[in-house]
């Protein structure tokens, strides 16, 4: 028994003791093949999955390395069955390869006759492959390249795709050496990609296709831009929604040689096809009379690169469409490979293996994202409100709890705690926000605010002219407010873990003076609000953002003690 930092469980989870002196080494050792599942303060949980192991194989690690790493860092004897399983699983990758045959075109070759026979016997491969050329080779219909890879992963014999990519239509894209200032008068700054972003681009480019995993706020867009520059071809970018599409466009204009005219938006509102086209998942998955009406976009140009933003949210129909794009380079960007719907295998087979992964905390330690302090403020509702809540219809309960009157006072106290900070108050319900805005004497931005007014207010906030801003959920994605260092969430859309992360992301942009960001969530005790809050926070807690709970009643007394600690 060694005194390692790692405990290997027979259910294939790895527990890493963070405070152990060798924890860093162990983390680096297991990162290539294990997926980080939870990262709370003391013990992080990683999981070994077939996909993770195949990812490691794709990245050039072998089973022996994995086994040795586990044994080296494990505190207790590693379960025998697990080691056997690791070796067996990893041995399955690459037994089948997709390659280009000089005569027959796309072929599936095997290093093992039995494997090929097993795979061809399966009903699922019927129709995807053509004639057998010899014992070890079979012709693959080029149009079924994606389907076949998908099926092979399901059958447990993932194929290594060596067939290469089409070059695509050339379109020169370069990263600009400077980035224009935010305000019209500000001089352009010089910039370059951060080291980890460069590694990510290189990792992706060498692998051909695949997924880059970076935390929120770590500059995934820039990785996308870097990949486009490297590719120098027409590019299709698929994003989650229109707001995100605009953000991409702005960022590309600022960071690359591309101009507004070269970038098209393909969304519900606009249907432009340009050398670089940004489309939303939603428009691609729109069906009219049972037909996807916007599929032609995928073939509209000879795309040399397809970028998928937020791969972990990629909807199922997109997967099916992606299956037909296997000859094009594909880059997936995400903060986590863990999907709530369990379709990790499709990401693996259709987009590609994980090519780069940087732990959230590492990037924070390098100062690229701001450290954050998360606090949940629990508010006990007064008797009268509790009675109304108790007798309310279930569908009204959340609204009632979320917009509890006491929150107003809490927000006031919180704002008072941060007199020198730029404070954002984020909420869901307009009447509540209106009330808060009046109370705090701060401007309010909602969906109804005109674009001009919005931009004026944001500009004023950025410049420090105003230090308080009350925003509705329009602020979830669209705005980039680097100086906001305090966010107070008074209500959210139910239990969305993603929204919580996005809102936290608002305050996590690195601060000029390296200040700690604060994120407050105000919840009403003993209500559904609290349950939803717990659900949202689980994601953050698992990402290592330990949150504290404070009673609303204690806010005044506690603030003095808390400040030095923070």
């Amino acid at each position: 028994m060694t005194d390692g930092p790692l405990i290997v469980q027979s259910d294939k989870t790895l527990l890493l003791e963070v405070d152990h002196p060798r924890a860093g080494d162990a983390r680096r050792g297991i990162a290539p093949f294990a997926e980080l599942e939870r990262a709370p303060e003391h013990v992080h949980t990683y999981r070994l999955t077939p996909l993770g192991l195949w990812n490691a194989r794709a990245a050039g690690h072998d089973a022996e390395q994995v086994v040795n790493t586990l044994i080296e860092f494990s505190r207790y004897p590693v379960p025998h069955a697990l080691l056997v399983d690791v070796a067996e699983t990893m041995a399955r990758y690459g037994r089948l390869q997709l390659a280009t045959h000089p005569v027959h075109g796309l072929v599936l070759t095997a290093t093992d006759r039995a494997v090929l026979a097993e795979v061809l016997k399966s009903k699922r491969t019927a129709g995807l492959v053509g004639d057998r050329i010899d014992d070890l080779t079979v012709v693959v219909h080029p149009s079924e390249r994606g389907h076949l890879k998908q099926v092979l992963v399901k059958l447990g014999w993932p194929a290594e795709d060596l067939a290469g990519y089409v070059d695509g239509e050339k379109h020169a894209i370069e990263l600009s050496p400077t980035v224009p200032g935010r305000t019209p008068g500000e001089a352009p700054r010089e910039w370059s990609m951060r080291p980890y972003q460069e590694h990510a681009v290189d990792g992706f480019w060498h692998g051909g296709s695949g997924v880059v995993v970076l935390p929120c706020g770590a500059g995934k867009t820039i990785v996308g831009a870097g990949a486009m520059a490297k590719s120098g071809t027409t590019t299709l970018i698929l994003v989650t929604n229109t707001v995100s599409a605009r953000q991409w466009r702005d960022e590309l204009v600022r960071r690359t040689s591309l101009t507004e005219e070269e970038i098209g938006e393909y969304s519900g509102a606009r249907k432009e096809i340009k050398p670089v086209t940004i489309a939303t998942y939603q428009v691609l998955t729109t069906k009219r009379k049972g037909v996807y009406t916007h599929l032609e976009l995928l073939d509209a140009r000879d795309w040399g690169l397809v970028v998928y933003d937020e791969v972990h949210l990629l909807p199922a129909p997109i997967f099916r469409m992606t299956a037909d794009l296997q000859a094009r380079r594909r880059l997936g960007l995400t903060a986590t490979l863990v999907r709530e719907d369990g379709r990790e295998d499709e990401v693996f087979s259709l987009i590609g293996p994980k090519r780069y992964d940087a732990p959230w905390k590492d990037i924070e330690a390098q100062g690229y994202i701001a450290p954050a302090d998360c606090v949940e403020v629990r508010l006990t509702m007064p008797e009268s409100e509790r009675m109304i809540y108790a007798t309310a219809e279930p569908e009204d309960k959340y609204r009632l709890a979320a917009s509890a009157a006491g929150k107003k006072h809490v927000v006031e106290q919180l704002v008072a705690r941060h007199p020198d900070d730029q404070v954002l108050v984020i909420g869901q319900y307009l009447d509540q926000l209106l009330e808060l805005a009046t109370h705090l004497d701060a401007p309010l931005i909602t969906g109804a605010t005109t674009v001009r007014e919005r931009q004026r207010l944001f500009e004023a906030f950025r410049s420090g002219e105003i230090s308080r801003l009350v925003v509705s959920k329009v602020a979830n994605f669209s705005i980039d407010l680097p100086e906001a260092s305090v966010a107070i969430q008074v209500s959210g859309s139910f239990g969305s873990r993603q929204e919580e992360a996005q809102r936290l992301g608002r305050v996590m942009r690195p601060k000029a003076d390296g200040r700690t960001a604060h994120f407050y969530a105000v919840v009403a005790r003993d209500t559904v609000d609290q349950d939803f809050a717990a659900h949202r926070q689980r994601f953050l807690a698992e990402q290592g953002y330990a949150y504290r709970i404070v009673d609303a009643e204690d806010l005044g007394t506690e603030s003095e003690q808390e400040e030095p600690a923070a």
């Binding site: 989870t13 330990a546 709970i549």
Partner: protein, 946 residues
């Protein structure tokens, strides 16, 4: 053609064999009885009957079923080398010249000759000779050279062991030739006259002749005659003409033994299997083995605990056919987080350890026994030891669960017919095989089922255990942690040693339930991971125990959290639901937090603190209690008076609110009491309406007291105690005494032998092989002492006509038998206690499962007597308790018994039955002969014989 062959079933030289047996020293006889226990049970009445029994087909089959491959090869070699048994009718040679009398050309069959024929190298020679000594001891072989001075043990056996020049001349036990089949070692028959090995076909032989011989050389020695006119046919014809082959019938030729031996260069076997194969296996480091075993051991202990508590909450109903239903199995499997096969094993194991039992109620359900409580207070190692011990001794076959029996019924866990008597022996053998492969280098071999089976096949080639059983046992061993990563673990080794010890010297207390801190528990304690008494609590409401949680910690976590991941460490998650559960068990927030904080090396995370306190605050906000009735009044003063009235204290009145009292008594009773006190109360219904009093009182269902399952379990335990070895020495001395008295009364032994030989040669030709030894008795020794071994009624008249001497068996009564009176009274006795007993105890003693021909339940029947008799059982009607006890034993062992049933007309009918179930005054049993299942009222059973 057939005329050149000898009679295929020659009469065996029983007398010589019997003499050899008689001349054995007492010690050797005891050794024989120990080596072949079936010979001593029931006690043979004379040495001669012992000899007859030892050469009976059944006994030989059984002995061979337990013989290893080397013994069988030796027996075949001796059979092939020994002179052919003389033709019936020819005068026998005097015993002294026997070695050279039959076929002068043949040398003595000494151990050295056998070893040479087997092709043993010098090292193996030793093994061969030891094996021959054992075969002699077990009377599978005997020495044709008579000893000069009767029983003089030391000299002879010493000479035999050293294998000196004047070594023994080995002969196979009579009857062995038939049991081993017509072509021992693939050698053809001896032809008459015996062919002396002649030079093998030279250049004058037609082409292909040598090829034919080579094809037949290593057996089987039977060839098909090619069609006439072909060239091979010419070769065959030539070979037949020249005596290299003989025609057995129109289409087949045989290779005579002598030619075969010559072709093989004097060898009888191509490859000597002197030693058991030693499969290499896959080497696994001892540390890995023990770590895996420890994990499995903890798992199985936990799963049994889960089962016990699951059935404590909700007992599982028993199927009508016995056993646990599929749905209930699935349920416990889910609770244990495992698959059904291993869950079924856990269920079986818990039942074996006496932790759960069928409560015997109607309808029966499975509930935890009283023993489950003390068991769960033991530490992991002791708990495991209790389970492992129960497993080591059981006859149950859980691997059959889920398969279908002959009638197509699915076999359910805990079903009564899931037992086979040979299981413990096979289990011990399997574990021994695993142990033998171990080396001291710190690596232990992990053997596959096929490799284990390979070794077991060498040990008993004629009774190869079913692969499924071996596979099942290996599987169970791995679930239990007796093996880890496929190799025997340290506790497994300790268990094996205990098992062997317990089987050799069974302890009467059968201490299953009683915690025994023995070597097994100690062995497992050593390998279990260290107990950890700390838990790392984290902000995401999880906690991690970096090792095996101590008992207290495990209990705390079980109450307060749900486990997310198990293994070397344990990950738990706290939720509002789990904290509520803990609070339900009576904990409060502060004590819970203190307990957790005490064990956490890091400060208690704030979210957890809030979770516990918030949950506790809400817990119990709404209170539920039970009351028989309530009492409400508009005026609180009225109620205040009632609450403290001593005359109403029996009603259990409690004030819930100023105007409401709750009462323990039911509404009717309360109403009566209040009326008696002079208060005009009215009874109201759920809607507040006043109702008629008489409809309020409702009947109550009595809750049956749970029967003490401990008593049931302990009863089961004592019943399973293994019987001790009979006193063979005493038996042998009795036999000697009988033999000596017979010798005094009779004439000279040689003369008697002579007479017997003449008689047997005529009588025995037609006699049943099993009865063959018997007829010698009435003629050669005209004593009724031999009467009990008469089994063939056709031979009764000469026996009955013999004079009545002293020393007659008690069964025949005090008077001399009347000349015309058949020996019937002795018959049932012999049949009841002798024959059947011997046959039926076969599976238990033999331990040879399945494949062996001639061994096992059904095959034993071929020699059994007709199943219906009107004779009264020997001792009148049995004590009912004895009969029932025997039936229960038989149910447990899956054995067949003889049951005397009282028919409708009052006659006794004897049937051989395999009892299945005994309850409610009824016996359900299978009659294998009639292939019928029947149900018998217990009062109709007059007697039961095992």
């Amino acid at each position: 053609m057939a005329s050149t062959l000898r009679d295929p079933a020659p009469s065996a030289p029983t007398r010589h064999f019997a003499d050899a047996l008689r001349e054995r020293p007492d010690g050797a006889l005891v050794a024989l009885l120990r080596a072949r226990p079936d010979l001593g049970s029931p006690s043979p009445s004379t040495l001669r009957s012992l000899a007859a029994r030892a050469s009976s087909r059944t006994s030989l089959e059984r002995a061979l079923a337990r013989s290893d491959a080397l013994t069988l090869q030796i027996l075949e070699a001796v059979l092939a080398l020994a002179p052919p048994v003389r033709e019936p009718g020819t005068p026998p040679a005097p015993p002294g010249t026997r070695a050279t009398g039959g076929s002068p050309a043949r040398p003595r069959v000494t151990p050295a000759a056998v070893a040479e024929a087997l092709g043993a190298d010098p090292e193996e020679r030793q093994l061969v000779e030891e094996c021959i000594a054992r075969a002699l001891e077990a009377a599978l072989l005997w020495d044709a050279i008579p000893s000069a001075a009767g029983p003089s043990p030391q000299g002879r056996s010493a000479a035999r062991r050293t294998g000196v020049a004047a070594g023994p001349d080995l002969r196979p036990a009579p009857g062995l030739d038939e049991v081993l089949g017509p072509y021992p070692a693939g050698l053809g028959p001896d032809v008459d006259p015996p062919t002396t090995p002649r030079p093998l076909p030279g250049p004058d032989a037609p082409a292909g002749a040598r090829a034919v011989l080579d094809a037949l050389a290593w057996g089987p020695p039977v060839g098909v005659v090619p069609p006439p006119g072909s060239r091979p046919r010419d070769a065959v014809d030539w070979l037949v003409r020249n005596g290299y082959l003989v025609r057995s019938d129109a289409r087949h030729v045989l290779l005579p033994r002598a030619v075969g031996l010559a072709l093989r260069g004097g060898r009888t076997h191509q490859r000597l299997q002197a030693q058991a194969p030693r499969p290499e296996g896959r080497p696994v480091s001892a540390a890995t083995v023990d770590a895996e075993a420890a994990g499995a051991a903890l798992d199985i202990v936990r799963r049994v605990g889960v089962l016990v508590s699951a059935w404590d909450d909700a007992p599982a109903p028993q199927l009508r056919t016995g056993g646990l239903g599929v749905r209930d199995l699935r349920r416990v499997a889910t609770a244990m987080e495992t698959d059904e096969a291993s869950a079924a094993f856990v269920v079986e194991l818990a039942a074996l350890a006496g932790l759960v039992v069928d409560d015997g109620d109607a309808p029966p359900t499975y509930v935890p026994t009283d023993a489950a409580e003390p068991w769960s207070t033991l530490d992991d190692a002791d708990r495991w030891a209790v389970l492992a011990r129960a497993w080591a001794l059981t006859r149950r076959t859980p691997w059959q669960i889920g398969t279908r029996d002959e009638r197509g019924t699915l076999r359910a866990p805990l079903s009564p017919d899931l037992q086979r008597p040979w299981v413990p022996r096979l289990r011990a053998q399997v574990l021994e095989v695993l142990q033998h492969g171990s080396s001291s280098s710190g690596e232990r071999p992990a053997l596959s089922t096929a490799e284990v089976l390979e070794v077991l096949t060498w040990r008993t080639p004629r009774a190869v255990p079913p692969e499924r059983a071996v596979d099942g046992l290996l599987m169970e061993a791995s679930w239990l942690g007796v093996t880890g990563a496929g190799a025997l673990s340290a506790p497994g080794r300790a268990l094996l040693e205990t098992v062997v010890q317990e089987q050799e010297a069974p302890s009467a207390d059968g201490g299953r339930v009683v915690p025994v801190v023995d070597r097994v528990a100690a062995a497992v304690r050593v390998i279990l991971p260290h107990e950890v008494d700390e838990i790392l609590l984290q902000g995401d409401l999880t906690g991690i125990v970096p090792g095996r949680p101590s008992r207290d910690l495990a209990r705390l976590l079980e109450q307060t959290s749900e486990t997310e991941s198990r293994g070397a460490a344990t990950t738990v998650r706290f939720t509002a639901a789990t904290i509520t559960r803990a609070l339900d068990h009576g904990a409060d927030a502060d004590s819970l937090l203190t307990e957790l904080a005490r064990r956490s090396p890091v400060p208690l995370p704030q979210p957890l603190d809030y979770l516990v306190r918030d949950t506790a605050r809400r817990h119990g906000a709404v209170r539920v209690g039970s009351a028989g009735s309530y009492l409400r009044a508009a005026d609180p003063v009225v109620l205040a008076g009632l609450e403290h009235d001593p005359s109403l204290s029996s009603l259990g009145l409690v004030r819930l609110a100023p105007t409401v009292l709750a009462a323990a008594a039911d509404a009717g009773e309360l109403h009566e009491a209040l009326r008696a006190r002079g208060m005009v109360s009215a009874v109201e219904g759920p809607n507040g309406q006043v109702v008629d009093v008489r409809r309020v009182t409702r009947p109550r269902r009595a809750v049956p007291a749970r029967r003490s399952a401990l008593a049931l379990a302990s009863g089961r335990t004592t019943a399973e105690a293994v019987s001790t070895e009979p006193d063979y020495a005493a038996l042998v001395s009795t036999l000697r005494a009988v033999d000596a008295s017979a010798g005094d009364a009779a004439q000279s032994r040689a003369a008697a032998r002579e007479a017997a030989r003449n008689a047997t040669s005529t009588v025995l030709r037609s006699a049943d092989p099993a009865a063959r030894p018997a007829p010698a008795a009435p003629i050669s020794t005209p004593r009724p002492a031999a009467l009990p071994i008469l089994t063939s009624p056709t031979l009764t008249p000469p026996a009955a006509g013999s004079p009545a001497p002293a020393g007659e068996p008690p069964a025949a009564g005090p008077d001399a038998p009347q000349p015309d009176e058949p020996v019937q009274p002795a018959e049932p006795v012999e049949r009841g206690f002798g024959h059947h007993r011997a046959v039926e105890s076969a599976p238990e003693a033999g331990g040879a499962p399945g494949r062996a021909t001639g061994v096992g339940h059904r095959d034993g029947d071929d020699a059994s007597a007709p199943d219906v008799t009107t004779a009264a059982p020997a001792g009148g009607t049995q004590h009912p308790a004895d009969a029932l006890a025997l039936l229960r034993d038989a149910i447990r062992d899956g054995r067949k018994v003889q049951v005397d049933l009282v028919g409708r007309s009052g006659t006794l009918e004897r049937r051989e039955l395999r009892p299945l179930r005994l309850d409610g005054g009824r016996l359900r049993a299978v009659d294998p002969l009639r292939e019928a299942e029947l149900t018998i009222a217990v009062h109709r059973i007059a007697a039961v014989e095992a």
